[in-house]
Symmetry: D2
Subunit: 343 residues, 4 copies
């Protein structure tokens, strides 16, 4: 028997990826698809990649009641909008993986700093678990509400945490220079996301402080116990998927860092550490739930670490399913693509 | 127990896609990977998208003996080179899906016309089955050697065959105007395939007569009994995957053509017919094994039909696995992606 | 002394290209830039490519009065909106090159068929000249109002007209299969023009009958005296600029067609005929005002002709400046790029 | 009378851009085009974007004698190969702008460190001038041999030099994180430059120390007198042109940095400083000889500076022509595009 699942916000890029993963999952099945502005349409008319009977599902309104038997809800909604839906689902006794930013912070104060609004449901903070799977496995397994990490924080925290824990990084701010495919910017009709504006161009954005900087700092400390300051500069690139984060790091004994990362991740199905000096590309992870990590040593106390994820998979829908697997006691890797869809 | 499979020519784009599909297939497993020029290297060092233990497989030489227990071989080799490998595998009693052009024709004479060389193994023609699955299911099920159709012929024949069978097309040559992503051109280091030569450009090629024109004509007649002449113009586009074929058709009673296509394909898992007037995009099939078909009626006797496939899936590795499923009596759709990897 | 020029609709993609050309033109200078929705902003804040003092020009409202000394106006406005501006400028005694579709047709009836609205200023039809420069030179030179041809018609008519005039084409409908970069779709914030919707995809659109089909038929006859029917299928491609049109042609003595084209265009600065069998790419004309034409002979009575233009240059702003040069008695090629901006 | 110019290495991407600029230049004309591997072919057969009579020029062999009247030679050759050609041209009394790396360093020792080979013509170091135009104007004006700066150093040095001169940067290593279009990697047929390998992907390369790091450090000190250490990480992006460099900087009084940059560049035609907080994109400079610079202040002592150039223009052929203009006493901006070719 498959577990019935609802996806709220099904017609964005992350929603589409959730549909693809859940429909191919051995133990979950799609029971409900909701989409604010597209309610009443066939899923296939809004999502060109949807095939089979999924394409024929009628999209429900955002606030339509869920079928009673839905046990698991993925909320792929804009921040603030998500919190209300999450609260309702939790009240109804369902498990929730929230892909918005609404429950990624531990206090309403930081949330308000980062997102500029008062948090509508701070009472849920206590039960929300930040679902960076490789470092939160046990807590996620027991959670009803998992806050799925942001894409930039995922690509940053995975390489950072083992080094922070080992205490080998210098105290200075950590330089995080990230490059993201455009699907991360969402599916809204904005002039600056038009094909001809993005194609054949690259730009930095979100300065002086992108929202994800707070998330990186909070959870770098949360997982390592070390206070951290990041200087984070994201860039948008002319490609659909993929995120590459370049960490410019200072510290000590860089010759030992590869071993620290290897110790942390050698048995992880979705983290691949390349040999010293080899650097990953986003093509290697696009369509996969993997995070590929490479390190280049500049000197005894300087190194560059590059990590790559598919922003829609390990950076969103993939990690969400990985969390859901943990929440339901399933094999953590179930239904998740290991190989990239390359080229 | 999974069936052990070998892939010869594992490091091209089609080979990479075969690896991804076979490693995720419930009943097949990768037992042997061979690659002419990369023998002795780790698969992962040549194929950036490969994860898990597959990345650690050592690539065998093209002529290395296969493990005894290999029951199924995919040959993703250049034409002419493929025939020798196919012949050896058949002699050893293994089943073969050949993704080259070597066994797509029924006579050595046509092969020689199309490919300019004498066929090295015409004795195998008799047992080779042309594996356009939707129209060759029974023959494929009993075959030891399946010739996997070319990408252009697949995208052309699927919409054409039901109309040809119904006798509604005019006698004139059929205009086939195809647009292909660049992965169809292979992974050889050629100047005209460099990023900067392909990007931001489109061109026609292969004129006056592309090799696939013979294949289209031979099998249009083979499946419909009607002799057909095509005027085929392929174009190469700045995208990795995807193939769109525009058929400019004349005939009679075009108002009935959608029904003819619906009757042929309504129960097919991998052919999706859109409502009259809706036209597909390659984004809708990229990463999926589907062929999407749309029709627009210009008049009672003129229509445009557009079909879309992923050239690496329904146009190559996907259809190859579909054929393998049939050859081993498995569910034809097993291990094959239905939804596109979108966007 | 440079001639003062106004550009109405300066902030679309065609407007931007006009600015680039006019600011680099030896005999024209920009005196006025207007833009409906961006009035009051600096040009540089809306047009990232604008440099120098042009970036500091304040954008005027669409209906702001023009400086008295403006002699030439380019209207790069949506159809219907353009006609009113054109009428005002003509009343004020200025010369106009209209890049909209409003004056491309010779009767209000055809316009209404193609555009679905009643024409607001049919009284101007009489003085409007259809500015396909290579075939309308003398008329353009004496005109006050030039209707700049559409991009698809330009790429189609240039290769067709010499063949039509020679009477070598069969009577059947002419198959026109065009592929266009996305800048041709304009700069409006629409979901289906978002980067992630266009990138890595191709689709046909505008069926069963795109507006430019009327324009093609009207001017094929207008320039050749032969009545023509086209079956026109446009496609949108993942690239910014460039348009390739594939003509699938039937007729007689195809071996002579190259000579007919050569005779028509051998002295034209902006039409380049490739040797028989060589086919152009859009990369070869992107950033240039050229139209490149190639022909492949399939048989004595069948041929494929491929023509390439930059949709923003020979397909819009470039041809507009070419027309303006003619209207002011200047060297027709003045200020127009001959070489592509390649790669 | 135009000055006759030779281009050695005319068929690479930089060579093509030089042809375009020189053929459109009011005071230079192309007298000789040479290309190692393509000698004997028509320029147009190798360079699709070439139009007019330039396309009909026969490519000379690399070592063919130059016409006697050639006064200026652009060498767009691989490093080491360039030095020999440069030496010959200098002996013959011609002026040379060398676009290779051969004369960018002041000592043979640094050259050998960076390029791994002994310098073949160190005797020319004395007369070579490093042509970062905005900071070397007088020296270039009197030079016979100008070493055209590398693309990465150009995009890095322009924003850095005014800050270094002012002494406001901290002593720590400067983090230089650059993103380059693929044309910078040249036109050689290499597998890792194939369309399908680059498209939809980003990767870092050239670590732990890219050759341009030496050039940056040498000339940061050369122009400012301050010793500097850079930590430079270049990335290759899926776009033809464009280079964006992100400088992660520490120092003091960041609130004053914009004024320092403004003072340095306010009268420069090819450097555009954006208002504080606005950041440039490569689309804004693609096809232009401009360098656009933006700054975001993170705190009193931390800032991010982003600079954008077209790697083929200000990063190569454009700056080369700017240098040539200076060497011949012409208007420095002559024949150079100010506006981007956008979109």
């Amino acid at each position: 028997m498959k577990i019935p699942v609802a996806i709220l916000g099904a017609t964005g890029y992350t929603g589409a990826e959730l549909i693809r993963l859940i429909d191919g999952h051995p133990r979950f099945r799609i029971a409900h698809l909701a989409a604010h502005s597209q309610a009443g349409k066939r899923a296939g008319s809004v999502l060109p990649g949807c095939g089979g009977h999924i394409a024929d599902i009628m999209l429900a309104a955002a606030d339509a009641p869920l079928p009673d038997d839905v046990e698991l809800v993925f909320t792929a909604l804009p921040h603030a909008a998500a919190a209300a839906s999450v609260a309702a689902c939790i009240r109804q006794g369902r498990k929730v993986v929230d892909l918005s930013a609404d429950f990624r912070h531990q206090t309403a104060a930081v949330y308000q700093q980062a997102y500029g609004i008062e948090h509508p449901h701070p009472e849920l903070f206590e039960q929300a678990v930040y679902g960076l799977c490789e470092h939160a496995r046990e807590r996620v397994a027991g959670a009803s509400l998992v806050a799925n990490p942001g894409c930039y924080p995922t690509s940053t925290l995975l390489p950072l945490i083992p080094l922070l824990k080992a205490g080998v990084l210098a105290d200075a701010a950590i330089i995080v220079d990230s490059k993201s495919g455009t699907s991360g910017a969402g599916r809204s009709a904005k002039t600056d996301l038009l094909y001809c504006e993005i194609n054949e161009s690259v730009k930095a954005y979100g300065l002086p402080r992108h929202r994800h900087a707070w998330e990186m700092e909070e959870w770098a400390e949360g997982f390592s116990g070390k206070q951290v300051r990041v200087r984070f500069v994201p860039h948008i690139l002319p490609m659909n998927r993929g995120m590459l984060t370049t960490l410019h790091l200072s510290g000590q004994d860089t010759g030992n860092w590869h071993a620290l990362l290897a110790a942390a991740y050698q048995h992880e199905p979705f983290v691949r550490l390349l040999p010293v000096g080899e650097l990953p590309s986003t093509a290697g992870v696009s369509g996969s739930n993997r995070c590929d990590i490479g390190i280049s040593l500049l000197s005894d106390n300087e190194a560059v670490i590059v990590s790559c994820i598919d922003n829609l998979l390990k950076g969103a829908a993939g990690q969400a399913v990985q969390n859901a697997n943990l929440m339901f006691g399933l094999d953590e890797a179930m239904g998740l693509p290991l190989h990239a869809c390359w080229p």
